[in-house]
């Protein structure tokens, strides 16, 4: 029964799926999709009070459509869009797991959706309790003393983490220090965040097994280094086994260890970065904790810290006084505020709902099955595809296009070919230390037969690369558009519709 490819996919059958022009091109003057209440108050003229040059009438070129036309337009656009609800995304480092529907229901409860951030705390006890609970859950899951839910995204959490580190050094040593150590396998946000705060990013080379060696860290570590940024498991899916020793080396010279929590899915309930010497870490609620990617966002990037760093957390933090919850702004050593209000509450509701549904056992089970799925897929693919690093990985694995070198077929071609087979491509060309990288993370929510169907598609691509590389390079041929001219988009940027819009439909 596992010999068959099930289900048989028919990617790209199109009947009654439409390409759509821009909403502005569908506009017909005089139509409306709005239903507004009567004023019920005097129809005063704004020109009485507001100077004429600050006023304008209806905006030129704003479209006019009926509600049904608007709906049809966006329904059609949705139908030419892939999503995790449609099919598998083997995207390494993204943890594209299923987005539970009860999360969406919870986030839309009027008591959550209509809560204003500036209401007095007595009127906000439910939302504050949820945040307080989530703070504690995340602290426990990662092995930390305290958590801030304020950052809006993983990169934002990273920025917060580095600011916390900077504030700590200024406070303790009178200097922020100058350098941050970053492994060469790190995500691009790591050096970008460090640079934003004026730190020099020092690259540390991973060894032949894709891991950080204590000696390499020791050599680079001195009293000018504010922190080491580490991802564990790292971006290759490999657990940094020397993490404890490495953390000690950094701490011995007064430095701190920053953890990028993007890969928490592999170790939930199995290991906790806070127990391993990590001082501050950000989570990605849109990765590990199932909040939907929304076509690019929103996400959320809470940051958790060891006790010594708690005073520096962004303010406010939710605290419990006796039986009531409130926002605590009285935090003189805080790094301050990183965005308006208290955090992406809409995403917190979803993540909280998820964690409460899974519970203690479910979280650990998630890690177990995430790793099981990745290792099973690795076994299926290893036969044909070159694995970048021989040593075992956890929840993701990195392959390369090396075995196809003579055919001229590249990782990019493989990615595009997968689309014609009904699969979103894996992460490609990342991490940068692997040439032609294909990073695959199935997550725990994919079934055995989906993994086998994916492996079968990869096998078919492998065979075709050997027999018909030119044909393969034409992919993708089935989606609504073929390969797009990205050079043109960058050379002659067209970033909005205007009445003289030149690009033909």
């Amino acid at each position: 029964m596992s010999q068959e490819i099930f289900p048989k996919t028919s990617p790209g059958t199109r009947g009654l799926v439409y390409r759509e022009p821009l909403i502005f091109e569908r506009s017909v003057s005089g139509r409306t999709g709005a239903s507004l209440p009567a004023a019920g108050v005097p129809e005063a003229d704004p020109a009485d009070e507001i100077p004429a040059e600050l006023l304008r009438g209806p905006i030129e070129h704003f479209p006019s459509l009926s509600e049904n036309e608007v709906v049809r337009h966006y329904v059609r656009l949705s139908q030419i869009n892939h999503s995790i609800d449609t099919g598998f995304y083997p995207l390494g480092s993204c943890t594209m797991k299923y987005n539970p529907k009860v999360n969406e229901w919870a986030a839309r409860l009027p008591g959550f959706a209509n809560a204003h951030p500036y209401l007095p705390p007595e009127q906000l006890q439910g939302v504050l309790e949820l945040m307080w609970n989530l703070q504690n859950l995340l602290s426990e899951i990662g092995g930390f003393a305290a958590t801030s839910l304020q950052p809006a995204a993983g990169a934002h959490g990273e920025l917060a983490g580095l600011m916390i580190i900077r504030a700590y050094h200024l406070d303790r040593h009178g200097t922020p220090r100058k350098k941050v150590l970053i492994p060469d396998s790190a995500h691009g946000t790591n050096p970008a965040s460090a640079a934003l705060l004026g730190y020099q990013a020092i690259e540390l080379k991973s060894n032949a097994k894709g891991m950080l060696e204590p000696e390499v860290v020791a050599k680079a570590m001195d009293e000018d280094v504010a922190a080491l940024m580490v991802t564990n498991p790292n971006t290759l899916g490999i657990f940094e086994t020397h993490i404890k020793q490495i953390a000690e080396i950094v701490h011995a010279k007064g430095g701190l260890v920053y953890g990028d929590g993007a890969n928490m899915n592999a170790i939930l309930g199995v290991a906790r970065p806070g127990d391993l010497g990590v001082d501050v870490m950000h989570y990605n609620l849109h990765k590990t904790f199932s909040t939907p990617h929304g076509g690019g966002g929103p996400g959320a990037g809470p940051v958790s810290v060891a006790a010594a760093l708690e005073p520096y957390l962004p303010r406010p933090v939710v605290v419990k006084d006796g039986d009531t919850f409130r926002l605590d702004f009285d935090r003189p050593k805080s790094i301050g505020k990183l965005r308006t209000f208290w955090g992406n509450f809409g995403m917190m509701v979803r993540a909280y709902t998820y964690i409460r549904e899974l519970g203690r056992e479910g979280l650990r089970r998630t890690a177990e099955l995430a790793v099981l799925n990745a290792q099973y897929l690795r076994k299926l693919l290893e036969e044909d595809w070159h694995v970048a690093y021989e040593n075992p990985s956890l929840h993701e694995v990195v392959f390369t296009d090396r075995n196809l070198k003579e055919t001229g077929v590249t990782t990019m071609d493989v990615a595009k070919a997968l689309i014609d087979h009904g699969f979103h491509p894996p992460t490609v060309y990342f991490p940068l230390i692997v040439s032609g990288a294909l990073m695959i993370e199935p997550t725990e929510t994919e079934s055995k037969e989906t993994l086998e169907a994916f492996a079968a598609a990869m096998k078919a691509i492998y065979e075709r690369a050997k027999t018909d590389p030119e044909g393969l390079k034409r992919a993708p041929e089935k989606p609504v558009v073929e390969r797009l001219d990205e050079a043109r988009a960058a050379r002659k940027p067209v970033l909005r519709w205007t009445p003289d819009f030149e690009i033909p439909f």
Partner: protein, 130 residues
């Protein structure tokens, strides 16, 4: 496919080329460089009159997937800049040694060119990279 490396030029390790034309030096990037970059979409070059230093960045070249600094092979003052590359950066892909010259400078110290690779050495260098 290895393209023949023009014999009359000298080369840096960052894949810039330089040609002597009378009292001036003409500078651009090599075939290998543009091949590595992919479709070039943008290039940023210094103003006429600016000073450039050997080994220091003088500009930036961008493709759809990468961005790279341009390093000066020699020190001097910029006397001309190829403004055609602003509207047509793809020339860098099409004709890296000819129409896609980037800047002309009056050199400070011609002996700096001795530190650069000749065509044979650069060819070897490129082969090792691949």
């Amino acid at each position: 496919m290895a393209q023949t490396v023009p014999q009359d030029l000298r080369y840096t390790q960052d894949h810039e080329w330089v040609r002597r034309e009378g009292d001036e030096l003409v500078i651009g990037i090599t075939f290998f460089a543009q091949e590595q970059l992919g479709d070039v979409v943008y290039v940023e070059l210094p103003e006429v009159g600016a000073e450039v230093q050997a080994g220091q960045p003088f500009g930036v070249v961008e493709s759809t997937k990468a961005v790279s600094e341009l390093f000066a092979p020699a020190s001097g003052k910029v006397v001309a800049r190829n403004d055609e590359l602003v509207d047509a950066p793809e020339k860098i892909n099409q004709d890296p040694y000819g129409a896609a010259w980037m800047i002309r400078i009056t050199p400070k110290d011609l002996s700096e060119l001795d530190a650069l690779m000749d065509a044979a050495a650069y060819q070897k260098f490129v082969e090792e990279q691949q």
